[in-house]
């Protein structure tokens, strides 16, 4: 960041205020203010306020149909939102779409690697569309593949990969452009426990190495408990609870007056209450998409 010469003559107090304001503006990787998105009469996201801090792993939790994916689609600019509602590192998702997209690495819920291409070609495509120059493309692609332990399988068609390998390949696709914010929509859905652990270990290793912010949606409460710095429990389009997994579990234990620490799932059931009814579970399309992904990963 460059310093304007005019700022040099400002008083120390003014400079400190400006620094504090700048820090506050950039402390949040994602900021949603009153985010609302409706499909016809159905409000998928309803007046959502959310702040994801720079450098953290933030888990957006909730059952199918809670509005997690819609919120993610608004943040990733896939769905149009009014100006001022969504900001990514200070960039307005409505006014500065290209600027926002350049900072994102996105892994959608579906297994989105192209089975007709090799692992290396899949990653190279994203290097190209993020304008990685030809002279450093091969090196970047190899680094990204190496970061997810796919160097040996890079020359094989992605259609021959296991579900866990495809997820790691998608991670490499997202990493090749050095994103500041990695968004993962249900990254472990349908994977067996060992593959799930493998995917999370790679996410954590990359986060540790790069310091990037990670925003992840999941409905596996145990994963969120184990791997997320903070979580937001979402239900019917709104955040119902926000904090570290420890804080949320401790809070419920205190409310219930029990010595046994509840699970995150207990917290969620407590918050959602009788709201977990037949209407929960997502629409036909979402369930179909989830099942298709689960089927593809075997």
């Amino acid at each position: 960041m460059t310093t304007d010469p005019a700022d040099m003559s400002a008083t120390p107090a003014a400079a400190a205020t400006a620094t504090a304001e700048a820090a506050a503006a950039h402390a949040e990787a994602v900021s949603c203010t009153g985010l609302t998105y409706a499909f016809g009469e159905t409000k998928a996201v309803d007046d959502l306020d959310l702040g994801v801090r720079e450098g953290e792993v933030f888990g957006l939790l909730g059952p199918n149909g809670a509005g997690k994916t819609t919120a993610i689609r608004c943040i990733t600019t896939l769905l149009p939102v009014p100006a001022g509602m969504v900001r990514v590192f200070g960039h307005d998702a409505a006014k500065e779409r290209m600027g926002v997209r350049r900072m994102l690495g996105y892994v959608p819920q579906q297994l989105s690697a192209d089975g007709g291409l090799t692992g290396r070609e899949n990653v190279a495509l994203f290097a190209r569309v993020f304008d990685v120059p030809r002279r450093e493309r091969a090196a970047r692609v190899d680094l990204a593949l190496s970061a997810v332990d796919l160097s040996d399988a890079a020359g094989r068609l992605a259609s021959t990969y296991s579900g866990g390998m495809i997820r790691r390949l998608e991670l490499a696709q997202a990493l090749v452009s050095a994103p500041r914010l990695l968004i993962l929509d249900e990254p472990t859905i349908g994977l067996d426990p060992i593959a799930r652990t493998g995917v999370w270990e790679h996410i954590n290793a990359v986060r540790e190495a790069t310091g990037m912010t990670v925003l992840v949606t999941t409905h596996y409460m145990d994963e969120a408990d184990q791997y997320c710095d903070r979580v937001g429990l979402m239900h019917r389009g709104r955040i119902r609870a926000l904090g570290t997994p420890e804080e949320l579990r401790q809070g419920l234990a205190e409310r219930k007056g029990t010595d046994t620490l509840p699970t995150l799932e207990d917290v969620f059931r407590d918050i959602a209450g009788s709201g977990l009814d037949d209407n929960t579970g997502g629409g036909f399309r979402e369930v179909r998409s989830t099942r298709r992904t689960a089927r593809r990963v075997g």
Binding site: M1, H26, F39, G55, R73, T76, T77, L78, L79, F89, G90, M98, R101, R102, M103, L104, Y106, V107, P108, Q109, Q110, L111, S112, D114, G116, L117, T118, E121, L125, F126, R128, V129, F130, D131, V132, P133, E136, A139, R140, L143, A144, S146, A147, L157, Q173, L175, V176, S177, A178, P179, R180, A205, V206, E208, A209, T210, G211, M212, S289, R292
Partner: protein
Amino acid sequence: MKSEAPAAPHAASADRALGKDTALLLTPPVPRAGWRLLPARVLAMCTVELQKLRHDRTELYTRAVQPALWLLIFGQTFTRIRAIPTGGIPYIDYMAPGIIAQSAMFIAIFYGIQIIWERDAGILNKLLVTPTPRSALITGKAFAAGVKSLVQAIVVIVIAALLGVALTWNPLKLLGVALAVILASVFFSCLSMTIAGIVLSRDRLMGFGQAITMPLFFGSNALYPVSVMPGWLQAVSKVNPLSYQVDALRGLLLGTPSHLGADFGVLAIAAALGITAASSLLGRLAR
């Protein structure tokens, strides 16, 4: 903060997790701007199409069967019958450019199915979250369809040559043929992607695709000259880009009288309109 800034400060742990030379994965690439963005995206999409064809040529071979049958059976039979006025050239020669155009169109017209499949597989959403304007993405996809159609057209040209069709081998004229095939495929693939943006499902698009391909084919000059058509069909032929493509191919490959200026003009305008229409409806697929 500018997006050119490093993704994050270089951490010591980076070397452990990502290997020693991690700087590349911590530095976002410098964005292409202005006019250089579109050709870069088109090249990226065309490269993917060629890579897929290199890995699996089954589609190329199976799709060659139908045009080969048209030339072999329909072409040779009607050459004997001499029922269609062809301006003094054998009928199989006359219809060969029409079959080349048809086989290219059949590939392009079902390209919308691929974009719906990519939507369902999450590939489209992932591409839409890259710094690629929707018009550039559609243009890239459309030219990728053009490249695929061109490969198919080359196969059909070889088949036609093997069947004795007297085609030109003038490189400049062949370049013109390639341009006509690509421009027409851009239009037909965009027509398909536009319909995909309206109907949103593969099943419906299959129905639409089948409903429009035959009228486009038979409502053109691919099999017979416009002069033998009834008045209403002549009107259809006049607004059918396939007719202009066939006219250009016939003129370039066989040297028959044609209207190359008008043909390429119509094809270019049709391609531009197609890209505009498909781009404006791409957002519906993303929802």
